[in-house]
């Protein structure tokens, strides 16, 4: 059993991945032969219209859901071959998550929420790293607050801090700015971009918002379960134009 990933140029990959929901006539193919590689230290956005399979791609890459066929890896470990318990192990040690909403455990303080992945794994917090993250995200005076006492933007920043604190191999974000106003959203995406640029963090983000996607280094466009296009060095306008084409 090799669940210990080694440093690799590719943080996560999928090779000819298929995902079907339902059986027989009712079956819906959410992923239709997707092959993709997520390079380390890169900020990738996945875009596509509703039902294109972008969330499914994120979930199967992150080991939250299983492929029907094909294989996927996290840092060279093929997680499609692992048991549920082993996948959990990969998630706890090598993956960070940022969801659209309900990122935080209501009964834990901001600080406890941030250190949650470390507490679960039973590893020590690196205080310098913790302070650095808190400083960048501007959460210093919010650490003892419960999630209910934080604004939406602050809550999402806590979620980013939590994703970063364990220095995971890769962070998966699912519409992280979807519930925020445009100012807080821009701030949050700015932080994520800094994490990639300054700390070499790998991030994969699903979004339907062209502005959000423009923070990424690269954008994958998904339609009907297939990757139909890829864009590097995007700007919001270019993304918007590309999306309009897909709508047609």
């Amino acid at each position: 059993m090799t669940t210990t990933p080694v440093a690799a140029a590719v943080a996560a990959s999928m090779d000819n991945g298929y995902k079907d929901y339902g059986m027989g006539e009712m079956a819906v193919r959410a992923l239709d032969g997707v092959s993709v590689q997520m390079a380390r230290g890169e900020f990738t956005a996945i875009m596509g219209p509703s039902g294109s399979g972008k969330s499914t791609l994120l979930h199967t890459l992150a080991g939250l859901d299983r492929l029907t066929a094909g294989k996927s890896t996290i840092a060279n470990v093929t997680i499609t071959e692992l048991s549920e318990a082993q996948v959990t192990e990969i998630r706890r040690n090598h993956i960070g998550f940022i969801f659209q909403a309900f990122n935080l455990i209501p009964s834990l303080t901001a600080k406890e929420n941030i250190t949650l992945p470390l507490d679960i794994a039973g590893t020590k917090v690196d205080p310098a790293w913790f302070d650095e993250i808190i400083g960048i995200l501007g959460l210093g005076d919010r650490l003892t607050h419960l999630p209910a006492e934080l604004s939406g933007g602050q809550q999402q920043r806590v979620a980013v801090a939590r994703a970063l604190v364990a220095r995971p191999e890769i962070i998966f974000a699912d519409e992280p700015s979807g519930n925020l106003d445009s100012k807080s959203g821009a701030e949050l995406l700015g932080f994520m971009r800094r994490a990639v640029k300054e700390f070499g963090q790998t991030i994969v983000m699903v979004t339907h918002d062209p502005t959000a996607a423009s923070y990424a280094d690269r954008i994958l466009f998904l339609e009907d379960g297939k990757i139909v296009d890829e864009m590097r060095e995007p700007t919001a306008e270019r993304v918007f134009d590309r999306m309009k084409q897909m709508g047609n």
């Binding site: 959990t88 040690n93 993956i95 969801f99 309900f102 455990i105 209501p106 834990l108 949650l116 679960i120």
Partner: protein, 851 residues
């Protein structure tokens, strides 16, 4: 509206499942016990009509009012041969025969050990004279022949087989006067199906019966009517010729009278079990409150929407109450059905041991009524507060993002709880510290008030206590320990109720255990206060034969035997008990709690606290009335324990008061100095064996060493503890269901949270452990609070009963350990289903769940 309620129940039956189970369990207890007592009642009424229905008219001694329902002993020889002739001569009487029953007769199994005093306990033996007339004997010959010679006996075919006798065998028949050998010449069938409820039935000739009783005459006269005679007219006719103090009654009336007497005894059992069913339902009410409160929270948006489209607040309340009603009716019906099944199963199990004692087992309609009324009432009352709360939901809630619920402060609840607890403590203190009459009433009422108060306080007291464990749990179990503590803390009302439900159950267990263990120490202490090596008691409640006492006393090594008798007297128009002793030996045989010592009695009487409460003082003269006349006695002293006997007199006074009836109920046999188990084991055993052998001729006299007596008493006490524990099991089970229920509902509520934890890497078994920790902590806290309260109240109760001889309360440590371990295991078990659901949750669905 009703339709909407039913649809809502059907739409999501799972969340109401355990609530219904809680109600059903309480109802089941009620239905089971009432079905069993009803079956017992009809079984015995069948027995009584078999016994008395055969004879058209029964002539017997007038039953006295204070007769403590000695159904199996027969009373005096009220009739002589000429009375039988006179009855036979009454118009409309075809035939009459005198009946003799040999008192305290016993036929033991072939292999019974006669020296074992415990071998003689069991269903009674009924020994009568055989008349040959089936209507009088109530039995017919099954095999062999009827007893014709004075050494011949017949017995019912089932007992013969069970005890191991065959026709031709020698059967020793024991009675108060010794053992007599008979030859079994035949077997008989009682009534149509030998329905004897386990008793042994035997017949001998009239002469043999008279020899065994030691007296001529008859206790009863059985009468057969001539064809066409009117039973009531004949009863009147017979009453004309009967001696005073006797009566004639039709067989049917007699059977009905006996059945009614038996039923009134059963009624106490019914009330007793009803109380336990009520406790179970009371505990269940905590679960119902929790469930409906959680449901209302979960459906806030739904109710907001209903309010927005025009439903009034009152209609929302009505709808929730209707849902509760649906649950109550379904649960009660289920409870009655399962209760009936359980009764049938238990009945069959009991009959394996006891033989057929039950009539048909059907749920009596009163039980059905009680079940529905109690089940519905408890459910509706419990759902009322959440239902009223739901009416206050504003239509705006429909639009609001779910998640943060404003919590009602616990203030009112805390103040009420603290006030009640204080009031209860005051009540108990008043009962114990001051000199009020009947302190136990104060203590009992105080205890009830404290329980209510502490229940209300539980959210404030238990929950923070559990939360204080957070650090420890985090250290021991890591993040899941911390989260478990958080979760208990998050909904203090809910966790408090859950723990309180278990608390009440365990409280009652601990209370009963403290009380019974204290009774045990009283027994041990009293038996420790004796110098007697053997206690002689009667196996069947009859007086101990003086011959037996003389036989024991004549054994070499026995110093003396001190007799104690018990009788009934009338004082000031009411019935009281009187005990009588031999003043020369009484204080050397036993340490009685009297002032001055019993040996100081001067032909007068000692009085107990009950009589003192009537205003009688030492030096006064009291007038005691018995059948022999009325006696003026000077009060010479006090007997300080309540509940033993009201009056104490010396033996010679008792002989005047009771005449021939005076006799020993208990004899303390004291050995010569130096003959004890400690000082001279061999000699002690030798004397023991000699006395036991000397008493073998008197099988109804049982010789107990104090240790064995204590063991027997402890067994009785343990049996009571066991029976109450079994009845409380329903309440405990309901409380454990409550823990499960709370966890299940809160797991559902926390779906997204658990999904998130799983996504960031919490293992399945860690999720499981988190839920289990939550469950175990709640269970343990409920149980510990229950134990602390139960033991405290138990101790207070024991203190308050000081005048009954209770002195030192005993803490039942072993039981407490059992309860603690039980609560721990229950916590783990209760968590299985919720933890399984939580750990199997699909991570993606959980994260996406509508929260």
């Amino acid at each position: 509206m009703f339709k909407l309620a039913i649809k809502s129940v059907r739409h999501n039956p799972k969340r109401l499942l355990l609530t219904a189970a809680a109600v059903a369990l309480g109802v089941m207890l009620l239905a089971t016990t009432q079905t069993l007592t009803a079956g017992l009642s009809s079984g015995f009424s069948g027995l009584f009509s078999d016994i008395y229905g055969g004879a058209d008219v029964i002539v017997e001694e007038q039953p006295s009012d204070d007769d403590n329902a000695q159904d199996f002993t027969s009373g005096d020889m009220a009739f002589q041969a000429d009375d039988v002739t006179a009855v036979a001569g009454v118009d409309g009487v075809a035939d009459a025969a005198g009946g003799v029953q040999v008192d305290s007769a016993a036929i033991l199994a072939v292999d019974a050990d006669l020296t074992d005093p415990l071998a003689q306990f069991g269903p009674p033996t009924q020994l009568f004279n055989w008349t040959g007339e089936p209507a009088f004997d109530r039995a017919t010959l099954e095999e062999g022949s009827a007893p014709s010679a004075d050494d011949e006996v017949v017995m019912d075919f089932e007992s013969a087989a069970n005890l191991g006798y065959a026709i031709g065998d020698t059967v020793p028949v024991l009675s108060a006067t010794g053992a007599t050998n008979f030859t079994l010449v035949g077997t008989v069938r009682f009534g149509d199906d030998n329905n004897l409820q386990g008793a042994t039935l035997a017949y001998i000739t009239e002469d043999a019966a008279h020899t065994m009783v030691g007296e001529d005459g008859y206790q009863t006269i059985a009468v057969k009517l001539a064809d066409g005679a009117n039973a009531d007219a004949v009863v009147d006719g017979i009453n004309q010729v009967l001696p005073d103090g006797t009566r004639a009654i039709t067989g049917e009336d007699k059977a009905a009278e006996q059945a009614a007497e038996f039923d009134s005894a059963l009624q106490y059992i019914d009330i007793f079990t009803l109380a336990f069913a009520f406790i179970a339902l009371f505990v269940g009410s905590y679960i119902i409150v929790n469930t409906f409160r959680i449901i209302v929270t979960q459906r806030t948006r739904e109710f907001g929407l209903l309010r927005a489209i025009g439903m009034s607040g009152r209609q929302v309340t009505t709808m929730i109450l209707l849902e509760a009603l649906v649950v109550a009716i379904v649960a009660s019906t289920l409870g009655i059905l399962t209760g009936w099944l359980l009764a049938v199963g238990l009945g069959a199990l009991l009959e394996l041991v006891s033989g057929p004692i039950f009539g048909p087992l059907v749920v009596p309609w009163t039980a059905v009524l009680w079940s529905y009324v109690l089940g519905t009432l408890v459910t509706l009352v419990s759902a009322l507060a959440p239902a009223v709360h739901a009416a206050r939901i504003s239509p705006m809630e429909a639009l609001r993002e779910a998640g943060t619920q404003q919590r009602k402060p616990l203030k009112v609840r805390n103040i009420a709880g603290a006030a009640l607890t204080l009031l209860g403590i005051l009540g108990i203190t008043a009962g114990l510290a001051t000199t009020v009459d009947r302190p136990y009433i104060w203590v009992g009422a105080g205890a009830a008030v404290i329980i209510t108060g502490v229940t209300l306080l539980s959210a404030q007291v238990l929950v923070p206590l559990a939360y204080a464990l957070r650090g420890l749990l985090t250290k021991m179990f890591g993040i899941d320990g911390k989260l478990a503590a958080n979760n208990i803390h998050r909904e203090p009302r809910r966790s408090g109720n859950t723990a309180a439900a278990l608390m009440i159950g365990v409280l009652l267990l601990a209370l009963v255990a403290t009380f019974t263990e204290s009774v045990k120490s009283v027994v041990a202490q009293q038996l420790g206060g004796t110098d007697a090596a053997l206690f002689l008691v009667s196996a069947d409640g009859s007086k101990i034969s003086p011959d037996a006492i003389a036989a024991a006393e004549s054994v070499d090594g026995v110093a003396f035997a001190s007799q104690l008798g018990i009788g009934a007297v009338q004082y000031d128009g009411a019935d009281y008990s009187v005990a009588y002793f031999e003043p020369e030996t009484v204080d050397q045989s036993f340490t009685y709690n009297s002032d001055p010592a019993f040996s100081q009695i001067n032909g007068g009487v000692y009085i107990d606290p009950t009589v003192e409460e009537l205003g009688v003082k030492v030096g006064d003269t009291v007038t005691l009335v018995t059948d022999e006349g009325s006696f003026d006695l000077t009060v010479d002293g006090e007997y300080l324990n309540k509940g033993d006997a009201n009056f104490w007199v010396d033996w010679s006074t008792a002989e005047q008061m009771f005449g021939e009836e005076a006799g020993a109920d208990q004899v303390l046999v004291v050995y010569d100095d130096g003959i004890t188990a400690d000082e001279d084991q061999a000699r002690f055993d030798e004397v023991n064996d000699t006395v036991t052998a000397a008493l073998a001729e008197y099988p109804t006299v049982l010789a107990f060493p104090p240790g064995l007596l204590q063991q027997v008493a402890n067994q009785g006490i343990d049996f009571i503890l066991g029976a109450i524990t079994a009845l409380l099991a329903a309440a405990i089970l309901v409380a454990i269901l409550g823990v499960m229920n709370t966890l299940l509902l809160s797991v559902t509520e926390r779906t997204r949270e658990i999904g998130l934890l799983r996504a960031v890497g919490l293992r399945r078994n860690e999720v499981w452990r988190m839920i289990t920790l939550e469950s175990v902590v709640m269970s343990l806290f409920g149980a510990i609070a229950g134990m602390v309260l139960g033991v405290s109240i138990g101790v207070a109760v024991v203190w308050s009963l000081g005048e009954f001889g209770f002195s030192t309360p005993t803490v039942p440590w072993i039981w407490l350990a059992v309860y603690a371990v039980g609560a721990f295991v229950a916590g783990i078990v209760a968590a299985i289903w919720p933890a399984w659901r939580a750990s199997r949750m699909n991570v993606l669905e959980a994260i996406a769940a509508d929260g």
